[in-house]
């Protein structure tokens, strides 16, 4: 995936994830930025306010009193035609919940960076993915970065995707593991990003000479408007949002491919693979956790097991076909989740089971809840968790009602 045929004059810099996100927003020429500081997201907003203050980014930086207001500012600015950005974490994202629905329902191409952090109670500022997973059903596209280069690249691509399908995009990256860890990042030139990212064309036009109402009380049934045109009821608008997400897979892949042609780093798939070709045991994970899984897979290979990794890059729309194709003929699939749907299982595990339903050659599926509240996840622990099932898989029990946890209970 990371081909080295770089055609452009990017500069390699040592950046942490937050700085990489801010660089991406600067290069994408965001016009309105509204955010409220929260650990571990704060450095993104600090860096962006510096860019604006120094005149390196021609944007309005709106200091707001809460995350709810931050996203309210962004949806309003997006509606009048500005390219917008906000960033948050955990409780900040939860506080945005209402406006997340609003941005998606109004079909506004807002881009939000979610620096993944655990939810209280009890308080934690450390990483897991419960915050963004809890916003799964708000109608946003969700992309998970596995390193800081992907943080930068995904945000630039997010604008192209969002402004093509008119669906907001949340780019998620793990708090501290990525947000506060420096690694080499190729920062593209402004000229190249300008070639990749055309100006935003809003579908909502606010013009005093031609006044419009947007998103007023909409009754259940379709209705004829003042011009005699039959307009959508609430349910038709919901159908269109689902349809936009269903159809966005092709756009996401095309945008990723075009990005690759210009910048030498292709993102032409919803998922990515590590040593998957001949693997009969596959570990599945999302974000930086999936990088740890690649180390675990290598350990399992050394121990003589044919192990590989399927990394989920895009969680919404969930790439059911891609996942089914990648997993249906395997012997064992072990899904690692840094989140849990309490009373059920990890959110990605449920998706994977759903994607594989009805496949005649479905693998045994096991789920592990790991790394909640910043608990370190070691590659050795992941490899051991897989080995456990390799040794005791003779019972033919494909499914397991509840997940296992890697913790000290």
């Amino acid at each position: 995936m990371m081909s080295k045929k770089t055609k452009t004059r990017a500069s390699a810099q040592m950046l942490d994830g937050n700085h990489a996100a801010a660089e991406a927003v600067r290069l994408s020429r965001a016009q309105v930025i509204a955010a409220y500081p929260i650990t571990p997201q704060s450095p993104v907003t600090e860096k962006l306010s510096e860019f604006v203050e120094r005149g390196e980014l021609d944007a309005q930086y709106v200091a707001v009193e809460s995350e709810h207001s931050a996203l309210a500012v962004c949806t309003s600015a997006s509606m009048v035609g500005a390219r917008v950005f906000t960033a948050t974490s955990a409780h900040g994202l939860a506080y945005m919940h209402e406006m997340l629905h609003w941005a998606a329902g109004a079909r506004l191409p807002v881009v939000l960076a979610c620096v993944n952090r655990a939810m209280g109670a009890p308080w934690s500022v450390l990483n897991d993915q419960q915050d963004s997973i809890s916003q799964r059903d708000t109608g946003w596209i969700q992309i998970y970065a596995r390193n800081n280069q992907e943080v930068l690249d995904s945000i630039v691509q997010a604008y192209r995707i969002a402004e093509s399908v008119y669906v907001p995009v949340m780019v998620c990256y793990d708090g501290y593991v990525l947000s506060h860890t420096e690694m080499p990042v190729d920062v593209p030139t402004q000229k190249d990003v300008d070639r990749f990212l055309p100006a935003y064309e809003p579908h909502t036009i606010l013009d005093p000479a031609n006044p419009r109402n947007y998103n007023l009380v909409t009754l259940a049934n379709p209705r004829v408007n003042a011009e005699g045109v039959l307009c959508h009821g609430y349910m038709e608008l919901r159908y269109l949002l689902q349809e936009a997400l269903q159809n966005s897979r092709e756009i996401i892949i095309n945008v990723g491919q075009e990005f690759g042609e210009l910048f030498g780093r292709s993102y032409d798939n919803m998922v990515w693979e590590h040593r998957l070709d001949d693997a009969d045991v596959v570990m599945v994970a999302m974000g930086s956790l999936a990088m740890e899984a690649t180390v675990a897979a290598d350990m399992l290979r050394e121990a003589g097991h044919k192990a590989g990794v399927l990394g989920l890059r895009v969680f919404r729309p969930f790439p059911k076909t891609d996942v089914a194709k990648a997993l249906e003929k395997r012997r064992l699939v072990v899904v690692f989740d840094k989140n849990i749907s309490y009373g059920s299982e990890g959110a990605t595990c449920s998706e994977i089971k759903s994607a594989l339903y009805g496949k005649s050659t479905g693998p045994v599926i096991r789920n592990y809840i790991v790394g909640l509240g910043g608990r370190d996840v070691k590659a050795r622990e992941m490899a051991d968790a897989v080995s456990k099932w390799l040794l005791s898989m003779k019972d033919g029990d494909l499914n397991q009602e509840y997940p296992e946890w890697i913790c000290a209970i």
Partner: protein, 102 residues
């Protein structure tokens, strides 16, 4: 025929009366005006108009005599409450249809 022809992807419309549909059918009581008591009608000149001022749906006209647009009146009864001359009475829609049937 479906609704795609409107080509909207979010809810949108141009400002017009009855934007949210005909809300008069939400009503279960309607205001009945007694022009013998209503101040502008009795004085035959523009006066009072508190019902016009307080109506949250803007369906009361500022005319002599006043008119209420029953296609959009939701029957909240605020006009009847506010009327200093007690000229407006709320009558249940149910009793009307019973009377009509009777």
């Amino acid at each position: 025929m479906g609704t795609r022809d409107c080509q909207h992807i979010c809810d949108e419309s141009s400002p017009a009366i009855g934007e949210a549909g005909k809300t008069g059918d939400w009503r279960d009581a309607f205001p009945s005006i007694d022009n013998e008591k209503c101040i502008p009608a009795r004085q035959n000149k523009p006066a009072c108009f508190l019902c016009w001022l307080y109506c949250p749906e803007a369906v009361v006209s500022k005319t002599v005599p006043i008119q209420i647009d029953m296609e959009y009146c939701k029957g909240c009864g605020i006009c009847a409450e506010i009327c200093p001359a007690h000229a407006i009475t709320m009558i249940s829609e149910e009793s009307l249809s019973t009377t009509e049937k009777g």
